[in-house]
């Protein structure tokens, strides 16, 4: 499915449902770097290994951005489970990202 899969994409089909996501970034700009770091932290803390992430650089693959209507970056799309959702921004607000992904926050340190 992923044409360009980042090294960070990990897959673990254990008991919990797998969250499938796509993150669109534009080059190596500050928002891109921040978004990747923020998403990484969120995944590690709240999703453990039950997620799949495709990372797309729109500067390299503009047709992907056009196909999915991605105009602003960074832009995170949740493909499954449940209804699709999109979060725009550098994902600095963890609460709203989790809400959009439909994931219960885990308070574990």
């Amino acid at each position: 499915m992923a044409r360009k899969l980042s090294a960070k994409a990990r897959c673990d089909a254990k008991s919990t449902t797998v969250v499938v996501m796509r993150l669109f970034i534009a080059g190596r700009g500050p928002n891109s770097v921040k978004a990747i770091a923020n998403l990484q932290a969120i995944c590690e803390q709240h999703l453990k290994d039950s997620f799949r992430l495709e990372l797309i650089d729109v500067c390299e693959y503009p047709e992907r951005a056009l196909a999915e209507g991605v105009l602003v970056t960074p832009s995170l799309t949740k493909l499954s489970p449940g209804p699709a959702a999109r979060v725009i921004g550098n994902l600095s607000d963890t609460g709203s990202v989790l809400a959009a992904l439909g994931v219960q926050p885990r308070m574990a340190g």
């Binding site: 928002n31 978004a35 503009p62 970056t73 921004g89 550098n90 600095s92 709203s96 990202v97």
Partner: protein, 594 residues
């Protein structure tokens, strides 16, 4: 930085390229701002269409506010054939952000710019429009972010050598997060659109607020929409080819041509004023029909009455236009004054003038545009139309409705009469319970025109001007004229009769006198004859009485003369004795008389 003397890219929008001295700054960004519905999107899209269609310069349209499908639908009212263009030289990007999007932290336009970059390369686009960027900027969390994105956009545009138009809505109050002052500073050209209601009719205007490194026409200029899109009413560069023509153009009405010393001067403007029903349209129609018969392209502009109706009405007075319409020589423009403002009509008419290039134009009635919108703007429109027609050297007949019969009423309404070359006033003269049409040439520049008021006769066979009958300082028309003429005729006849009667009388008198003279002459002759007779008698008597005395003396033998006795007196005969008796002293008379 590019050199000051910047290159310009024409928008192809009539009027705007005149105001901006050639168009928008090439490879720079122009900002178009204005309230909703003032024409920003049409301006931007039309520029893109013109460039793609007429100069094969592809373009990109980024729609933040509307779905491209919606834009296509709206543009279908213009003859742009947008879908065909969109296939190979225009690219529409639907940049509406989903309302369900969740925002978390800062973001930028990286995605959009990547798409545009790719499309630019693919299409070799030269133009780009960002329509409704305010929608996008409103999503940015703070003014700082908005400013950053605008700069990002500007840098991207500069790198890509695109001529850009950014449109943005502004409300009365400065809403949203973006300081438009800053945006205006950033771009090279700022165009402001404005729309307001003037007496319930929308009036749109645009103004070039800024044009870095270029001269431009300052001020607000009206704009309107025609079949080809937006038209901006730019003050025309005065092409004063005022080589005054001396050619006469027929009014289509021989009697009137005579009054105008042969017709209207080519390129002149003629105002026909009059109350309702004074046959203004008939005169205008005659002119149009005559122009078409001469093979001249003609434009008939009518307000509040469709071309079909006018054609039918003119047909009823023997003016046929259908064939000329079919041949394309004649075109109609019919405007509704309850829907559009005068400016909009003007811009459409001007566009039609450029398209049809008519040599003769009828505007019927121009006064209709004064009904809507502000009077001052209607006046300005009227004047501009006449000047425009003059520039095109078109011979124009304009009708104007005036209330009542006072031609001066026109001068207070549209004030066309002061700039028109000719002014013909039609009026009703009500006399003796009858309304009759009268035609007066109030003025005619450069023409020895008749200054007589004439009666206009209208029939199915056409028009005619009757000699009017003036009597006692009054112009008489219709039945009154007829009556007066009849009366005058009978009076003349009576005078004639009177004269011949008098003549005869005098002849009689003369004959009478002559006869009397003849009688007297006869009398005179008789008198003379009598006198002669009498004289002869007297002489004879004297002789006889002398002889008698001698005889008596002789008989008395020298006796003294005695008193003659009565006897001898008795013997006397004739008149002498009678006279003596009359005198009463008969005794002495014979002595004395003898």
């Amino acid at each position: 930085m590019a050199p000051r003397n910047l290159s310009k890219a024409a928008t192809g929008i009539h009027g705007f390229d005149v105001l901006s001295r050639g168009g928008l700054p090439r490879n720079r960004t122009s900002l178009v701002m204005g309230r909703p519905g003032t024409g920003k999107t049409v301006f931007a899209l039309q520029t893109l269409v013109n460039a793609a269609r007429d100069r094969k310069e592809p373009g990109i349209f980024v729609a933040f506010e509307e779905d491209p499908a919606q834009i296509f639908e709206n543009a279908a009212t213009f003859d742009w054939r947008l879908p065909a263009l969109a296939r190979d030289s225009l690219f529409f990007l639907n940049a509406q952000l989903s309302p369900t999007v969740v925002q978390s932290g800062d973001f930028d336009l990286g995605g959009m710019l990547a798409i545009l970059q790719a499309k630019k390369k693919e299409f070799d686009a030269r133009w780009i429009v960002f329509d409704g960027i305010d929608v996008l900027l409103a999503l940015l969390p703070d003014p700082g972010a908005a400013m950053r994105e605008i700069y990002r956009l500007r840098d991207w545009l500069a790198q890509n050598e695109l001529t850009a138009i950014i449109t943005t809505k502004i409300d009365g109050a400065e809403s949203g997060v973006v300081s438009y002052g800053f945006m205006q500073f950033m771009v090279d050209c700022v165009i402001r659109f404005d729309g307001r209601l003037e007496q319930a009719i929308p009036v749109r205007r645009l103004e070039i607020a800024k044009y870095r490194g270029s001269d431009f026409a300052a001020g607000e200029f009206p704009l309107g929409f025609g079949p080809r899109g937006m038209v901006v009413a730019a003050p025309e560069a005065a092409e004063t080819h005022d080589e005054a023509s001396t050619e006469r153009v027929s009014t289509g009405f021989a009697d009137l041509d005579t009054m105008l010393a042969g017709g209207l001067l080519r390129g002149s403007s003629t105002l026909i004023t009059g109350a309702p029903g004074t046959s203004k349209t008939t005169l205008a129609g005659k002119f149009a029909a005559a122009a078409c018969r001469r093979g001249e392209r003609t434009l008939y502009v009518s307000f509040d009455e469709g071309g079909d109706r006018i054609q039918r009405n003119l047909k009823s007075v023997g003016i046929q236009l259908a064939a000329h319409l079919k041949s394309g020589l004649l075109r109609f423009y019919s405007g509704r004054t309850d829907q559009d403002n005068p400016e909009e009509h003007l811009t459409r008419i001007v566009a039609l003038l450029h398209e049809h290039q008519p040599q003769c134009v009828v505007v019927d009635p121009l006064s209709a545009i004064a009904k809507t919108g502000a009077l001052s703007s209607a006046r300005a429109v009227g004047n501009r139309l006449i000047y425009k027609l003059r520039d095109l050297n078109a011979t124009v007949v304009i009708t104007a409705l005036v209330d009542g019969d006072d031609p001066q009423a026109e001068s207070t309404a549209l004030q066309i009469s002061t700039i028109a070359d000719n002014w013909i006033h039609l009026s009703y003269l009500v006399l003796g319970g009858e309304r009759n049409r009268a035609l007066t040439i109030v003025k005619s520049r450069g023409t020895q025109h008749s200054n007589q008021v004439r009666e206009l006769l209208l029939s199915a066979s056409g028009l005619a001007l009757a000699e009017v009958y003036s009597s006692g300082g009054e112009v008489l028309m219709g039945t009154l004229r007829w009556e007066k003429e009849a009366e005058e005729n009978s009076r003349r006849r009576k005078r004639q009769d009177e004269f011949s009667r008098k003549h005869r009388e005098l002849e009689f008198a003369e004959a009478d006198i002559a006869a009397r003279i003849a009688g007297l002459q006869l009398e005179l002759q008789r008198q003379r004859a009598e006198l002669a007779l009498y004289t002869r008698d007297g002489a004879a008597r004297r002789t006889s009485s002398g002889e008698r005395k001698k005889e008596l003396r002789r008989l008395r033998s020298a006796d003294a003369v005695s008193t003659p006795g009565p006897a001898p007196a008795k013997q006397r005969a004739g008149r002498a004795s009678a006279n003596a008796r009359k005198n009463g002293n008969g005794g002495r008379e014979p002595r004395r008389g003898a």
